[in-house]
């Protein structure tokens, strides 16, 4: 066999083998790079959803994503605020007025924040063939929003969310974000003329009970807690003492009248005690001085 006849005979085999090998290798490399992009997009979507759930703006979320996952992923972030799940059990407490409700309302609802990251993908090989690969990933994380802010925590479409979620805001920027005990107050209203309390009642009175005081400046700043002197709830202990005093005044009477002793004595003593008790209270339009007499 002459060398000239042998020379180059392996070239076609080599060309085929190298071609197949390179195709396989570049294909595998392409998949590896796509895998990298997918993992990158997954991480970026998760981070974006998590940060958006904390109430960050779109710009802040983008900046947060850019550092660990790159500008390409950050620029591909799309956020979508999703309403809470529908109420599965319809709640209509007021049997007389359907569509209205009493009893309670959620201030902070469990909403969601969806983030989708779409990147063009780094695909130098397949891309060169006109098949630019695109990867995308979506993640949903919980978010904190106050729906229907502005004194309307129930509002339109409470069950369906449709009306509520259009009017939502991050918790920390709404009027729900108030000091503790703001909504933990109580007062009683009554008609002083002894008639039914209706719109026709004139001169209606409002008296503040224990809880109403918690918005007063003298207990917000109390350095002590509890009901002891100087404590946040000290006034309630004072009230308790006055009530006990009222009972003692009534039941320890030594000058009972023969005709209707208990009633008469109660009549005398309780009026004085009630003057003290109601001196705690304010009138409807008056200043709040719940600690008067305490």
């Amino acid at each position: 066999m002459r060398l000239a006849r042998v020379r180059g005979s392996a070239l076609p085999e080599t060309a085929v083998c190298i071609g197949v090998a390179l195709t396989l290798l570049f294909g595998a490399l392409e998949f590896a790079l796509l895998g990298y992009d997918q993992v990158n997009a997954d991480g970026a979507a998760w981070l974006a959803a998590h940060e958006a759930g904390l109430g960050l703006s779109t710009t802040s979320v983008t900046n947060a994503v850019k550092t660990p996952f790159g500008a390409a992923a950050a620029n591909g972030v799309a956020l979508n605020a999703l309403p809470p799940d529908d109420t599965t059990v319809p709640v209509d407490y007021d049997y007389q007025q359907q569509g209205q409700r009493h009893g309670g309302a959620s201030l902070v609802r469990e909403a969601h924040e969806a983030a989708t990251v779409t990147t063009a993908g780094v695909s130098p090989f397949v891309g060169a063939l006109g098949k630019a690969a695109q990867v995308a990933s979506s993640v949903i994380e919980p978010s904190v929003v106050f729906t229907n802010f502005g004194y309307d925590v129930q509002g339109v479409g409470y069950n369906t969310n449709s009306g509520v979620f259009n009017n939502h805001n991050a918790y920390f920027t709404t009027d729900a974000n108030v000091p503790p005990y703001y909504v933990g107050f109580a007062f009683m209203q009554y008609c002083p003329t002894g008639t039914a309390f209706t719109a026709s009642c004139s001169g209606q009175k409002s008296v503040d009970l224990g809880l109403a005081e918690y918005l007063d400046d003298d207990n917000y700043g109390a350095s002590l807690t509890g009901v002891q002197t100087g404590g946040t709830f000290a006034t309630m202990a004072c009230h308790q003492r006055e009530y006990v005093k009222l009972l003692n005044d009534v039941f320890t009477s030594s000058t009972l009248e023969s005709n209707s002793p208990t009633l008469s004595k109660y009549n005398e003593t309780q009026q004085a005690d009630l003057v003290a008790i109601y001196h705690w209270d304010s009138t409807y339009d008056g200043a709040l001085h719940p600690t008067n007499g305490c």
Binding site: A21, Y182, L211
Partner: protein, 339 residues
């Protein structure tokens, strides 16, 4: 010399190089995915720990609010009973009597109502005692409680009471949240502090906490060709705060269980009804009235109406919500990191 035999294996180095490169790429891809997985796991652990750290304060405040609510209802009952007893003592309020000869029915009513006042005052005393028991935590003790919870998560890891055993937990910051909205009047439209927002004691301010979890994650392959691969530090950092998430108010006799159509809490009648003819007012019934707040679609807001003598006793339930970390740049030297 050229021969077919001599040309065998020419592709092998290229193939081997390619395979090595591919394997290296796969390794780094896997390592990257592992890094992200650990980071997500760390953040999840931190989120849960931050929420748990404030559970003591939320539990404390929920119990406190419950006691306050009960005390308020009882105080309303006492006030109403005292008013009613005074009316009865005046032979008024609907009871019939001939004062010159006998107290008549008024005496009977008085005898019925009086023990109820005694019982109500006793219950009020119980409420106050309970409130006092619940109300001692200070801002400092609340911070200590939060740290205890975080340490308990570490100690009880792997159990339903614990956290993720892979991480070390550190409470890196605890303070009171002072970014609340200004409140210059109470919902009864009464100005407080002459319209100036009063300083609030730290004891009753919602807390915020920051928790960091950490683990040094070793690479799956410690070294390649003598090259030691770096350790990845997975850090999860999360913050949470307490917030009132639900508001409720009392409305006995009105709030109906949809399943049974029966009221959850009926109106109270302290003595047999003796409505006063004028206005058909019954001093012996404790209607409570409730806040009677309803949502009117046309108003897109609450609307309050008073249809009875009214007790407005709101209460709310506290829980934890997540928030952005607030303590500035993280000082890694201050945290513990699991290996």
């Amino acid at each position: 010399m050229f021969s077919r035999h001599a040309q065998r294996g020419q592709v092998l180095p290229l193939y081997a190089f390619g395979m090595m490169s591919l394997l290296a790429l796969c390794f780094f891809l896997f390592q990257y995915a592992t890094t992200i997985r650990w980071q997500v796991r760390a953040q999840t652990a931190a989120d849960a720990a931050a929420a748990a750290a404030l559970s003591v304060q939320t539990l404390q405040w929920n119990q406190e609010m419950m006691a306050l609510h009960a005390a308020s209802v009882e105080e309303y009952r006492i006030r109403r009973l005292t008013q009613t007893l005074l009316l009865v003592a005046h032979y008024s309020g609907g009871c019939s009597a001939t004062p010159s000869t006998s107290a008549g029915v008024c005496a009977t009513d008085f005898a019925t109502l009086q023990p109820q006042l005694v019982a109500a005052v006793k219950r009020y005393g119980d409420d106050i005692a309970l409130l006092h028991q619940l109300s001692y935590p200070t801002a400092a003790s609340q911070a200590s409680d939060a740290n205890t919870v975080v340490q308990a998560l570490q100690a009880n890891c792997g159990t339903p009471l614990g956290g993720d055993c892979a991480f070390d937990y550190t409470m890196t910051a605890y303070s009171q949240r002072s970014d609340m909205q200004a409140v210059s009047e109470n919902p009864n439209e009464v100005m407080v502090g002459a319209g100036t927002i009063p300083a609030i004691s730290a004891n009753v301010e919602p807390a915020r906490v920051e928790v960091v979890v950490c683990k040094d994650v070793k690479p799956i392959i410690p070294s390649i060709l003598g090259l030691k691969l770096p350790t990845f530090r997975a850090i999860g950092r999360a913050a949470a705060t307490t917030a009132m998430v639900t508001e409720e108010w009392l409305d006995p006799g009105t709030i109906v269980n949809p399943a049974t159509n029966a009221v959850f809490l009926p109106k109270e009648t302290e003595a047999p009804s003796r409505a006063v003819s004028a206005g058909a007012y019954d001093w012996y019934t404790l209607n409570f009235g409730g806040n009677n707040a309803v949502a009117y679609p046309s108003e897109d807001a609450y609307q309050l109406s008073s249809e009875n003598d009214e007790l407005s006793a709101y209460t709310g339930w506290w829980s934890t919500i997540q928030m952005q970390p607030f303590a500035g740049p993280l000082n890694e030297a201050s945290i513990s990191c699991a290996e």
